[in-house]
Symmetry: C2
Subunit: 227 residues, 2 copies
């Protein structure tokens, strides 16, 4: 990661709005701001690798970070995807352990980094920080449970339609929106090969879903729920 620096006005702003800092009291925010380091990560660059000693906590300010595990043959399985405002769950290792997976920039990203030991020090004095970490990590655990169950219970088109429904207004009206990242990244997040995602989209055409590039139009959200 290059161009390390203290947070400027823009970065402070983004950081304050992130899910991480938003729930903290002013003293904890100040203490974290004090130790925050901002850096950007070019596309495809690794942030950390599975098995490395965990020494930093990372928060995404912009861009997307893909978290994945490797098998012996080098095949990759995505386990998480973090966007603006997200704290990278796998880097919350306060007890001096190791990273559980590899983190890579899916596109150019701006990150805030915090020395883990110092975070631990602050958390041991300021309960709001420790409790916020508990909440964030358990929310991520719940999300991981959802992925796991989805993988085992739903077909590719079902997973895709659930994703689309999660990302559009709940009012049952037709909508359009832009996918926040490339389809191959979405495929990984959903545990699919890119081809399978493509086929799922083409099947969903019969259910009122139209895709061109990153633009998605959903004709009938109610119908989509019944896929």
């Amino acid at each position: 990661m290059n161009r390390l620096m203290k947070p400027g006005a823009r970065e402070r702003e983004t950081l304050l709005n992130s899910g991480f800092l938003a729930s903290l009291g002013v003293e904890s925010v100040a203490a974290l701001m004090e130790i925050a380091i901002i850096g950007n990560l070019p596309a495809r660059q690794m942030l950390f690798r599975e098995g490395e000693p965990a020494d930093m906590l990372h928060c995404v300010l912009s861009g997307y970070i893909r978290l994945y595990k490797l098998d012996p043959d080098g095949r990759e399985a995505d386990v998480s995807l973090y966007g603006p405002g997200d704290l990278i769950g796998a880097s919350v290792v306060l007890d001096g352990g190791r990273y559980a997976a590899t983190a890579q920039a899916a596109e150019p990203a701006l990150l805030a980094r915090f020395d883990l030991r110092r975070v631990r020090d602050i958390a041991s004095r300021r309960a709001d920080l420790a409790l916020a970490l508990v909440n964030i990590v358990s929310a991520q655990l719940a999300a991981s449970f959802t992925s796991l169950a989805d993988d085992r219970l739903h077909t590719a088109p079902q997973r895709v339609s659930r994703y689309l429904l999660d990302h559009c207004p709940a009012d049952g009206k037709a909508t359009s929106f832009r996918l926040p990242y490339q389809k191959s990244l979405l495929a990984g997040k959903l545990g699919l090969a890119p081809e399978a995602l493509s086929r799922a989209f083409s099947l969903l055409r019969n259910h009122g879903v139209h895709v061109r590039g990153r633009l998605v139009h959903i004709g009938d959200p109610e119908a989509l729920k019944r896929v």
Copy 2:
């Protein structure tokens, strides 16, 4: 859950050895002991259901608790399995949220329960408790990542052999041991139908694995790693 009671000598002993309390200072342990309630749960009984407001933290003293999610048709997908000494991760919801999955006793179980609000109160005064919760939940997050990646990268026989290797001494010598629970439960934990587990075991016979009932004999751990 019936037969609620204050912890007796036996339960205190088990609780003190659990991963949860083991890392805490004496004051936090005392405070938790003060609010602990012991109860047993008959086989197949639910401890909590997905979506219910989370008001209790649970720690398994004996037996096994299966955590799963349901799909609309009533099919179940196991997301976690907790045994003696484990804190049930899905019940660590300090911010008044809801349980992320359903917990059911896979066999008669003895549990310690803690009122979540009171745990939160203690954690906001005693940093060691809050930090221990962060560590426990993030370890479970890492385990969940591993399951997710395993599902996507490995075949049934591979997942089974990894499980076996995780549960036998690492010294490369032949061993025998007893499965801690029924095979159908193990199948669920590994994300397999019971039939698939059975077929995996029969395939692993060619690799020196012999199973009779819950008794497993591993002839050559090294060979197993290469499956």
